[in-house]
């Protein structure tokens, strides 16, 4: 879902850059207070893991492929603000080192994959809070895994809707949102299944071997 150079015009990119820079500053301020020294190694490794898994394109329909976004996965382990910084670093590396996604379009890509996807994390948070309250953590992982799947799935859906709106209202793209949003949804409703499954598999693996990295319901951050 990396938007390339020239697809969006400046009237869309400038507001998105302002939002992303403001949100990034707030996120840095928040994580300066919340991140612990012993978390740095695992944060680095999970970011690297998401980068590696983003390279893995899985097939969906007639030659089309999808890949992991990974925002909800990172937000589950740490927090949405930490995940925003992590995904932003991945996007910057992809743009500058691998020419994947535009540099001027970075603001839009960060917004789509680090802020629009936040709604997917909220779905994870709601499902987990609603269905896990009376269960002893670790004994029943079903609510956690269901929340993880739907969080991952809807993060892709929301990101694709926002991306559809951006390219639909851009003067540089010949089609409006009436065409771009449904077309984006057709493919991304399938890509979301892959996102949900991969997120679920990784969380399930950690739940089994290193459950201390998955916040308990009492400590589940809604945003910061």
């Amino acid at each position: 879902m990396h938007i390339g150079e020239g697809l969006l015009d400046l009237s869309i990119l400038i507001p998105l850059w302002i939002i992303v820079l403001g949100y990034g500053a707030i996120s840095l301020f928040k994580i300066r207070k919340s991140v612990k020294t012993d978390q740095v190694a695992i944060i680095s490794v999970i970011t690297a893991m998401v980068f590696a898994f983003q390279m893995l394109n899985f097939p969906i329909l007639t030659g089309t492929s999808g890949h992991l976004i990974g925002f909800v996965l990172m937000a589950i382990f740490f927090s949405p603000t930490t995940a925003f910084i992590m995904i932003s670093v991945i996007l910057v590396i992809q743009a500058f080192v691998f020419a994947d996604g535009g540099i001027i379009a970075l603001g839009a890509n960060m917004f789509n994959m680090g802020i629009a996807t936040l709604l997917g994390y909220f779905i994870y948070w709601i499902i987990r809070k609603k269905f896990s309250t009376n269960e002893a953590e670790g004994s029943n992982t079903k609510p956690l895994l269901i929340a993880t799947f739907f969080g991952g799935y809807f993060s892709v859906i929301f990101a694709s809707i926002i991306c559809g709106i951006e390219i639909g209202i851009s003067d540089n793209f010949p089609f409006g949102i009436g065409v771009t949003i449904p077309t984006m949804l057709i493919y991304h409703s399938l890509i979301g299944i892959g996102e949900g499954l991969i997120t679920m598999m990784v969380v399930s693996f950690f739940q089994k071997y290193a459950p201390e990295y998955i916040p308990t319901i009492e400590n589940l951050p809604i945003w910061s």
Binding site: M1, H2, E5, G6, L7, L28, I31, R32, K33, V35, T37, D38, Q39, V40, A41, I42, I43, S44, V45, I46, T47, A48, M49, F51, A52, F53, M55, L56, N57, F58, P59, G63, T64, S65, G66, M86, V89, I90, I93, Q94, A95, F96, V97, F98, D100, G102, I103, I104, I167, N172, P174, V179, T180, T183, M184, Y187, I191, Y209, A210, Y213
Partner: protein, 118 residues
């Protein structure tokens, strides 16, 4: 010999398992070099998968544009190698950035304590 603590052990295992999983999945091969969702939408609507209207800016100094690595014909090894390079770069940048952030926090705390004691 210094014993590796559990946190670092988990970090090392996660890194190795990720690269192992990437290698295994590339080998199966689930990997597909086809257009992704957005490229397919651009293709469906404009007939061009990399629909990029004329832009005043282009960045030509990427060391590995489009995840290409010089003199490597083996697609499987090539993708894995790029994954490894990218993962290491990502890991170091995040590690360095977060360490810097925490060092600044600690020095601010120390300064605040000194001022308080004075």
């Amino acid at each position: 010999m210094k014993i590796i603590n559990r946190t670092n052990k988990i970090a090392i295992y996660t890194f190795l398992i990720s690269l192992g999983a990437l290698a295994a999945l590339l080998w199966i091969p689930i990997y597909l070099a086809g257009p992704d969702g957005l490229e397919q939408v651009q293709y469906d609507l404009t007939g061009n998968g990399e629909y990029e209207p004329e832009s005043n800016f282009s960045f030509d100094w990427s060391p590995f544009p489009d995840y290409e690595f010089i003199n490597t014909d083996n697609n499987y090894g090539h993708t894995w190698l790029i994954g490894l390079i990218g993962s290491i770069i990502t890991c170091f940048i995040i590690f360095g950035g977060f360490k810097l952030l925490l060092v600044k926090r600690q020095s601010e705390k120390k300064n605040a304590e000194i001022i308080k004691n004075v």
